[in-house]
């Protein structure tokens, strides 16, 4: 399993190393300075945080119905990655906001809802770590709740008054902006796939270990 993910890591690493070249060549946005370049490291993890939350919710719902351990492992891995990508978005966002808005953080609907979504998945991880036996079912329910929050996070900028850029920005981007953005997104996505595979493999090995201990005790 370890060897299978190495090409993903190498490719994602190469994309991350070359992305700054494309980002530096991209034009500046009107009314914004160099700080707008943070967008290329902010939007992809933020978008993947939402997609990961939806994936985690769907796989957890499947686990609740079918009770197959593989779905549980995938849900756990996706929840951890939602937190990781959320952390990246939560750090890169304020770094951009400090210059663009003059403050590190505002309790704007998009920011507040993203923070809440992030907290839901932190709760998932805490529940799994300290919840004891049966916590996987409770955590799966929490993941479904987290998934239900995701569309509101995405649409919050269109529903409520906000200073955060709207959802119309990305689909209407000119090619000069869009190419570096989707290039960077590919890198984040490859990392996601590789990390998910690696995390599932850790859980799989742990389950095998538990099974062996049980068998040896019988």
């Amino acid at each position: 399993m370890r060897k299978a993910v190495v090409p993903f890591f190498v490719l994602a690493g190469l994309i991350f190393m070359t992305a700054p070249i494309l980002i530096a060549r991209a034009p500046f946005a009107a009314g914004m300075g160099l700080d707008q370049k943070i967008f290329y490291f902010h939007m992809p993890p933020a978008m993947l945080m939402l997609l990961s939350a939806i994936f985690c919710g769907l796989i957890s719902a499947t686990f609740l119905v079918k009770r197959r351990p593989l779905y549980d492992w995938m849900g756990y891995a996706a929840a951890e990655l939602t937190v990781l990508y959320g952390a990246i978005a939560m750090v890169t966002g304020p770094l951009w906001a400090r210059k663009a808005w003059g403050v590190w953080w505002v309790w704007d609907p998009r920011l507040t809802m993203s923070f809440l979504l992030w907290m839901i998945f932190i709760s998932y991880i805490l529940l799994r770590r300290y919840g004891g036996p049966g916590s996987e079912v409770l955590a799966a329910g929490l993941a479904v709740f987290g998934m239900a929050t995701s569309p509101f996070v995405y649409l919050s900028v269109n529903i409520w008054r906000t200073i955060h850029p709207l959802t119309t920005v990305v689909p209407t981007l000119p090619v000069d902006f869009a190419f570096p953005l989707w290039y960077s997104f590919t890198g984040f996505l490859l990392f996601y796939v590789a990390l998910l595979t690696l995390r599932v493999s850790v859980e799989q090995q742990r389950a095998l270990l538990d099974q062996l201990y049980l068998e040896s005790e019988e």
């Binding site: 770094l95 951009w96 400090r98 210059k99 995390r199 850790v202």
Partner: protein
Amino acid sequence: MKIIYPIVVLLMNVAALAQQGQSEFQPVTEIPASEQMPSAPLVIAAYAFVWLAFVVYVWTMWRKLGKVEQELQTLATQIVKPRSTQGEGTPKRP
């Protein structure tokens, strides 16, 4: 000489009054470039954080996987041994 002393004191008071707090703000459309906050450190910090987050997470996962695999190997040898020697007890979880 006696007249000079009060004049000096008076001049010092005038100078002190001139240095008092700003009484009003003058509006300007743009602040000078030297006063503006530089963007480069923020962009670099964002890029560095992405790398740091991934490196730390990958390292943690690699360590966890290595630990579990090592435990599996130890357990496998512990299971094989009692079977060959018959009845040395069950392997204990570290």
